[in-house]
């Protein structure tokens, strides 16, 4: 079939195939041994969602008047859009990073790397939450937060937790993996 007669759907299929994602998913879903599986370090990409989530959290925490500048509908739309795009990035980062999908085919080094990365992430998240929750509670009483600000801070804190949980293990593992020279 000539390319000029191809439907939009088939062109879209080609575009998706061009990204290499379907081949990667098929590879991940197959039962083939993991001898050739490459762990690609992602040293910078996971920083983006973490930075976005931190920025959003700090904005809601320190600049509540920003909520009054825009209409409530606008706040919900912008915040919701940002959250959706960031949360959409996180699984992709995890899958394409050095940790990838947990598998029975994982060897001992891959399993150890996954364990170390998640231990680091859970430890950091536990510390942040143990310290952050009382601080936020004290701040809310001290500064007489309105319900809207409390809700926005709570939602942005939840998102920050989810982003850290999704991206931090990949970031940790990526910085622990050094590039191997080609044989």
């Amino acid at each position: 079939m000539k390319s000029s007669h191809r439907s939009i759907l088939s062109r879209l299929d080609d575009t998706v195939r061009w990204t290499g994602i379907p081949a990667r998913v098929a590879d991940d879903m197959s039962d083939a041994p993991s001898i050739d599986r490459k762990h690609r370090p992602l040293r910078w990409i996971p920083i983006w969602p973490i930075a976005f989530s931190c920025a959003l959290f700090i904005l809601f925490l320190t600049w509540p008047s920003a909520l009054d500048l825009v209409r409530p509908g606008g706040v919900i739309a912008v915040t919701g859009g940002l959250m959706a795009s960031i949360m959409g990035m996180v699984p992709g980062i995890h899958m394409y990073g050095p940790l990838g999908k947990p598998s029975f085919e994982d060897d001992e080094r891959e399993a150890a790397l996954r364990k170390d990365s998640f231990l680091f992430c859970f430890g950091l998240l536990a510390c942040l939450n143990c310290l952050g929750q009382p601080i936020l509670l004290i701040l809310s009483h001290w500064q007489n937060w309105q319900i809207a600000q409390s809700v926005s801070v709570a939602i942005s804190a939840l998102m920050l937790n989810a982003t850290l949980f999704g991206s931090l293990p990949t970031l940790y593992a990526s910085w622990n993996l050094r590039q191997l020279p080609k044989e």
């Binding site: 001898i35 080094r109 891959e110 191997l180």
Partner: protein, 81 residues
């Protein structure tokens, strides 16, 4: 404590690629690369599997002390003859 190994020397001597060794001992070929570079310490099971594959004792492959360079070993062997 750092663990030194001579996997790359044995691999080069036998003409085995990382991939072939990885297939033989059932790990990812990147794991062999990280092992050779000393970035990863193997479990006893993996160390024994690699030693068995090369047909040598595990002490020949892994050591807490730095291995003597091959040139020095050859020189000493030459002097002994």
């Amino acid at each position: 404590m750092s663990l030194h190994n001579r996997i790359s020397v044995f691999r080069a001597e036998r003409g085995i690629s990382r991939r072939q060794l990885a297939e033989a001992v059932g790990v990812n070929n990147q794991t062999i690369g990280y092992l050779e570079r000393g970035d990863y310490k193997p479990s006893l099971e993996l160390a024994l599997k690699i030693a068995r594959h090369f047909g040598v004792a595990v002490e020949m492959l892994f050591s807490f002390d730095r291995f003597e360079p091959i040139a020095m070993t050859l020189k000493r062997a030459g002097e002994g003859e």
